[in-house]
Amino acid sequence: MTIDEIQKGYRDKRFSVREIVTEYLERIRKLDGTIGAFLTVCDDSALQKAAELDEKRSRGEETGPLAGIPVAVKDNICTRGIRTTCASRVLEDFIPPYDATVVKKLKEADAILIGKANLDEFAMGSSTETSAFQTTRNPWDITKVPGGSSGGSAAAVAAGFAPLAIGSDTGGSIRQPSAFCGVVGLKPTYGSVSRYGLVAFASSLDQIGPIAGNVKDCALAFQVLRGQDPNDSTSMQPDAAGMPSFPSCLPDQGIRGWKIGLPRECFRHGLHPEIEESVRECGRLFEKMGATIREISLPVWDMGMNVYYILSSAEASSNLARYDGIRYGIRAKDYNNLEEMIVHTRSEGFGWETKRRILLGTCVLSSGYEKGYYKRAMRLRDKIRAAFRKAFQEYDLLLLPTTPTLPFDIGKQHSDPLEMYLADIHTVSMSIAGVPALSLPCGFSRSGLPIGVQLAANHFEENKLFSAASLLEREFGPSGRNTPPDMPPVGKIVDNILTRGGKQY
């Protein structure tokens, strides 16, 4: 169901918030055993909040823009009083004493936190398989991965466990799972959404964003999430940064006369032919709508992966140093002294991929071994930013694939890090440049797996992404309408409520 449909139902008094929440919880209870999207399901608090909202509505009080909408939140975003694990042993029992700014905003918008979604440990991965606790399966084919690291969030939306999920994206962690799960995911402009309460992986790249069943819901959620936060010095006031006010009504701005660039570098070796075809088809559709499509060249593209892995690992090595067993999180059982306590806690608490990246980051920062890798990567980041700035002087949007491959088999991801890191090849450059990018479904492969297309725009031009995406969405049909073949349709939720003879409201 879409946010609109649910809210219309509330307005028309077809069902109560409590009924909707109960049905979603019921669906999660029945089906999440197979999918494994959630690490924590917040039954009690969700039902309680639902009851409060019903009461509020019965008193005729005004409610927020996401009133009564169940939301899944990635488990690296702090929720006061609710376990927040980052899918890591080291934080398996961590209960934050505070809410992340985005969680506060969701609560103020009267959204209902329905559960905490699985992820790759500390968001390091692109299959959700590095989670220390469980494997999440792709609702479209449960032998496939949902992508990652926000795999639990994307799978939750695709499986109809929530109309909206919140993820985080460092090098593609919202966009890639959104593509794999056939949903819409936005990585906003760096600085447009507060990171306060997002457990840091790579602070200069991390950004929180929404994942939803359609473009409009995604845009609505972004509007709730965004805004400068006094607790995050890197968050920015969009208006101060020159963002035009957000269009109150999304579609039909039209893209006639827009110039859209197709980066040539994306269409080389390794791109799945069906994905290439889908992306080119999107280009043809845009042309029909009156836009101009040009192939462009972004030579910095090839450096993106290396720059990304150097910067993100370096920052991660520092951000993850605090997990030493002293103040919170697990503490190793066997140790003879403080040094052993710290080493054992970290060695037992972190998974292999996390340790590998901590070590890699330590290496690029180390004065003993570094050959200026980190500084060089910083310089190149500036160069990549400059290249994007230049491209967006001429082009309104970039059009490109989200992923080089279709969702791959669970357990089959390359253990070779270089191969594994290629999953992010089409997403990292936008993260480095800090520009917004959105992935939306653009059809299916012959094997029946979702294919995602990616749009990127200049800083704070999310509205351009939403406009173009909503036009494409019309062509392909909103993903929220498509239920994975083996699952009961999401529309069932309302049928269930009504056939159960619930009274009319």
């Binding site: 975003i77 702090c78 927040t84 980052c86 934080l91 961590f94 934050p96 004493p97 505070y98 992340a100 990171r195 306060y196 309460g197 997002l198 457990v199 840091a200 790579a202 602070s203 200069s204 006094p230 607790n231 995050d232 010095s233 890197t234 370096a314 920052e315 090595s317 520092s318 140093a321 605090r322 030493d324 002293i326 103040r327 919170y328 403080l338 710290i342 330590t362 920062l365 180390s366 004065s367 003993g368 980190y374 910083m378």
Partner: protein
């Protein structure tokens, strides 16, 4: 034989060596809240009372810079003649230690807030007639950083206790050039620096509370050489006295080492001052530099100080010790020694001006504050001045008016420090008022003269001593309350 050689070397070798000293001073800034969160910086709170998710390094938290910390650090920089960088940046210094909640310290590495300043110090001013020499000590940089928590090691237990109240308290680190050549110079620099930080209200500089801390780099070299010797870092110095003793001991140790084992036998290491044993003790050797993996903190945008803000900070700087000293010389007719001592400490200078402000003679006020006050102040808590300025002014005036004698005045001052009563109250209660009525005094003197006919005879024969004796008898008979000047003139009058 060898033993003797070594001994003689060390003894007469002192003047063949030069000691080279550089300082790294950490001063806690006078802010209400911590540098990156809104926790209080109050000293002496209950353990971990002043903590929050940010300064505890909880996952997901982010730092937000305290503007007052930037202002105070820039102020210190301006007062120490530094150039204040328009753009500066914060970096992470990565290392594991339980007092460091994030396992990195946010500090400034290659773009500090202030650079290349200096402070002129005078040596020889400790003695009123000493020969004064001015040295310029270079300050290479001043940067902002966060303090770490505190470790407590309970005696005889296998545990260490952690208190994070201090974690995140704003600090400036002031790094000097290796420009000092003796422990005395180092102490003089530190005193002058402390005075400036107090004057500018950048830091309260309480060494006993750790809000001013000093690490020292010291090396020795043969006189005339230009290359520096191997430098040794000395930590854990908590008072001026300790610093001077520690540096003297360390310089001596290095000279002996140099003489017995040659320059290469001095190891680059960190040593700790052991006050009890009166010597420095090795903590760790510095095998290569520690690998702190500095990089710019991505959570904090660079700090920009535009011209107008810098102007504002510059204008907010109060009169500095040097300027105040000049003014004291000009306005109060003091000598440089007195002016230097009074302005060396802001609290003392302010006190002096308050006393003078009550209309007391400025030289007289300087005398009481410099010669008499220190005696009672040394027992006071925190070096606080235990007598209110208007009480002291009142006391000095009463002496000037001849109501009590100078010596009685000293006793009254002592009494004021203890009882906090006004001089009037004390004089009244103890009956200390001077006898200045000529009639009353004449009566006493006549009594004395009649009882001491011999002395009167001696006087008349021309004995100079006799009048002194008679004066003593008069003072004794008045129980010290006779106004001496009046008594003397009356005595002379009656004798002639």
């Amino acid at each position: 034989m060898k033993q003797k050689m070594k001994g003689s070397h060390a003894a007469d070798g002192n003047h063949l060596f030069e000691t080279v000293i550089g300082l790294e001073i950490h001063a806690e800034l006078n802010t209400k809240s911590k540098i990156f969160c809104s926790c209080s910086t109050r000293f002496g709170s209950r353990p971990n009372e002043n903590t929050c998710p940010v300064c505890m390094g909880l996952p997901g938290t982010l730092p937000v810079l305290n503007e007052e910390a930037v202002r105070l650090a820039a102020r210190a920089g301006i007062a120490l003649h530094c150039s204040v960088n328009r753009v500066s940046r914060f970096d992470r210094k990565n290392y594991f230690y339980p007092d460091l909640p994030k396992a990195y310290q946010i500090t400034q590495y290659d773009l500090p807030l202030c650079e290349s300043g200096y402070l002129d110090i005078e040596t020889g001013q400790d003695r009123p007639n000493g020969k004064r020499r001015i040295h310029r000590i270079g300050i290479s940089r001043i940067h902002l950083e966060e303090d770490a928590g505190k470790l407590i090691h309970p005696e005889g237990e296998p545990v260490t206790l952690l208190d994070y109240n201090r974690a995140g308290v704003p600090l400036i680190e002031i790094v000097t050039e290796p420009d000092m050549r003796s422990p005395e110079e180092a102490a003089a620099f530190l005193k002058a620096l402390k005075s400036i930080l107090e004057y500018t209200e950048v830091s309260d500089c309480r060494m006993e509370q750790g809000s001013l801390r000093c690490d020292v780099n010291l090396s020795v070299r043969e006189m005339g050489k230009t290359d520096f010797g191997t430098k040794v870092e000395i930590k854990n110095l908590n008072s001026f006295r300790e610093i001077q003793r520690a540096l003297a001991a360390e310089a001596e140790r290095q000279r002996e080492q140099y003489c017995s084992g040659g320059p290469d036998s001095i190891l680059p290491e960190t040593r700790r001052w052991d006050n009890g044993r009166g010597r420095t003790v090795s903590m760790r050797t510095k095998e290569g530099n520690q690998d702190y993996r500095y990089f710019p903190d991505p959570d904090l945008p660079p700090v920009f100080l535009d011209r107008s803000l810098l102007c504002l900070i510059r204008n907010g700087i109060p009169e500095l010790p040097e300027q105040k000293k000049e003014r004291f010389l000009r306005e109060y007719g003091l000598n440089p020694y007195e002016a230097g001592l009074l302005t060396g400490e802001k609290a003392l200078a302010d006190y002096y001006e308050e006393v003078v402000g009550f209309g007391v003679d400025s030289r007289e006020a300087a005398h009481w504050i410099l010669d008499e006050l220190p005696r009672i102040r040394k027992d006071a808590e925190n070096g606080e001045i235990p007598v209110k300025s208007h009480y002291l002014a009142d006391l000095i005036q009463k002496i000037g008016e001849g109501r009590i004698s100078r010596n009685t005045g000293k006793d009254v001052l002592m009494e004021m420090a203890v009882t906090r009563k006004t001089p009037g109250e004390i004089i009244r209660e103890k009956g200390l008022s001077q006898i200045s009525g000529p009639a009353e005094l004449q009566k006493i003197i006549r009594d004395v003269l009649s009882r001491n006919a011999d002395a009167v005879q001696d006087y008349k024969k021309g004995s100079a001593k006799a009048i002194g004796f008679l004066m003593g008898q008069v003072m004794k008979a008045s129980r010290g309350k006779a106004n001496p000047n009046l008594a003397r003139s009356l005595l002379e009058e009656l004798l002639s």
